[in-house]
Symmetry: C2
DNA sequence: GAAGATACCGACCAAACGGTATATTGTCAA
DNA sequence: TTGACAATATACCGTTTGGTCGGTATCTTC
C-alpha cells in the first residue's frame, strides 16, 4: 500500500490521550451523538485504524471521556479544593467565588460538560447514565461530607440534612451554568451564582 | 402515479399540529440533532412531502416546536398558576409542591424539554438560543414580578433583588430536574426540590 | 366548471455517518 | 536476527440522514 504517512515514532499512550482530548472537545462543542469521528481524527492526525485499535466503538470512546477526562477534571478542580478548607461554609463560598471570578468564555459558551452529557445521554444509554451518575454521586458525597464535619464543628446549622443540601447545591450550580450559557451572559451567570452564595451563607449557624 | 394512499380529507391545521406534536416527543426523547424526520413521519402517518410543505427545514420544525409547543406549555402550567396566588412565597411553594407530588415518569426519564434543548442547541444555533432564551426570560420575569409585588405587600424580604432571586429559582428548578433525571430517581428529584422549598420560605419576611 | 392555488405523495439523491477489512510498520522478547 | 504482536494506515461498505422533485388530489374562486 502506497503513501503511508505515519507518525514518526509510535506512542500508543500519547495517541490514546490525544484521542481522548480531541473527543472531549468535540463532545463539548457538538454533544455526543453529533460528535463526528472524522472531525476528531482530523484534529488529532490520528488514523481511523488507530482510533479503532484503542476504542472498540464511538460509544466506548464517549464512556472513556466521561471516566478518564470529565471525572478527574472535576475531582481536581473541586473536590481537593474543598478538602483544604476547615469550614465548609467558607469553603463552598470560596469555590463559588472562584467560579464567579473565573467565568471564562468556555463555560459561558459550552456550559458544563457533565451537565451537557447528562441532559443528552442519560435517557438514551444506561452506561452513560451510570458513568455520569458516579461522578455526580461523588460530588454530592464530598459536599455532604464537608457539611457533616461542619455540623460536628458547630459551623453548620444542625437542623438540616447534609445529603439533601449537598444535592441541592450541586443541582443549583448546574442550573446556574446552564442558564448563563443560554443567556450567553457572564452577568447572568454571576448573578445566579451570587444568589447561591447567599443561600450557602444561610446554612451557617 | 399509482397507489396514492392519502388521508381521506384534507386538514392542513391538523397535519401541522400532528407534526409539531410528534416532533416535540421525538425531540424530547432523542434531542434535536438526533431526532429523525423519518421517525416523526412514521408516528404521524404524514408524508415527507407534507412535512416539507409545512416546514421549510428540520431546523424550522425545531424552532416551531420551541415557540408553539414548549413556550405555551410552560405558560399554561406555570405562569398563569403563579398569578392566582396573592402571596408569591406560598405561590412558588405550592408550584414546587405540585412538581414534587406530580413527579410523573416522563419528567424523571426525559427531564425538562426546555433545559434539554438549551444544553444541546444553544451553543450551536443562535436562533434556537434566542427562542429558548425568550421563554426563560418570560419565566424569570413572571417570578420576579410576583416577588416584587410580594415586597410591596410586605410579604417578601425587602433586602433582596427580585430579578436575581427569580433567575436563581429558575436555575435551581432546572438543576433539580436534571439531577433527578440522571439519578433516575423520583426520590432524589423530590429531595432536591424540597430544599428549594426551604430556600423559598427563607425569602419570607 | 374551469383555472389556479394549496396540500399532499413517494421515489430518489448526495453526503455523512460509524464501522470493517486488510495491509503495513514499529517494537521487543527470545 | 527473527518471529510475534501491538500499533497504525487507508480504502471501502452499508445505513441513515436531511432534503428535492415531478406529479397528483383537493379546495377555493370566479
Amino acid at each position: 500500500m502506497m503513501n503511508m504517512i505515519q507518525r514518526k515514532t509510535r506512542n500508543p499512550e500519547q495517541t490514546r490521550n490525544d484521542l481522548l482530548d480531541a473527543a472531549y472537545h468535540e463532545i463539548l462543542e457538538s454533544g455526543f451523538q453529533a460528535a463526528s469521528l472524522e472531525r476528531i481524527l482530523a484534529n488529532t492526525s490520528v488514523s481511523k485504524g488507530a482510533l479503532y485499535h484503542h476504542f472498540g466503538t464511538k460509544r466506548d470512546l464517549g464512556l472513556a471521556v466521561i471516566e478518564e477526562v470529565i471525572g478527574p477534571q472535576l475531582e481536581e478542580r473541586w473536590f481537593t479544593m474543598l478538602a483544604q478548607h476547615d469550614n465548609p461554609i467558607s469553603g463552598l463560598y470560596n469555590l463559588i467565588a472562584e467560579k464567579i471570578s473565573h467565568a471564562d468564555e468556555s463555560v459561558i459558551r459550552y456550559g458544563c460538560p457533565l451537565n451537557n452529557l447528562i441532559q443528552e445521554m442519560s435517557p438514551l444509554d444506561e452506561s452513560f447514565r451510570q458513568g455520569l451518575q458516579k461522578i455526580i454521586e461523588r460530588w454530592v458525597e464530598v459536599v455532604a461530607e464537608a457539611l457533616k464535619e461542619g455540623q460536628s464543628a458547630g459551623q453548620v446549622r444542625p437542623d438540616s440534612n447534609p445529603e439533601d443540601i449537598a444535592l441541592y447545591i450541586v443541582a443549583s450550580i448546574e442550573g446556574c451554568v446552564g442558564l448563563g450559557k443560554n443567556a450567553q451572559s457572564i452577568n447572568a451567570y454571576q448573578r445566579c451564582l451570587r444568589q447561591l452564595q447567599v443561600y450557602i451563607q444561610s446554612l451557617a449557624v
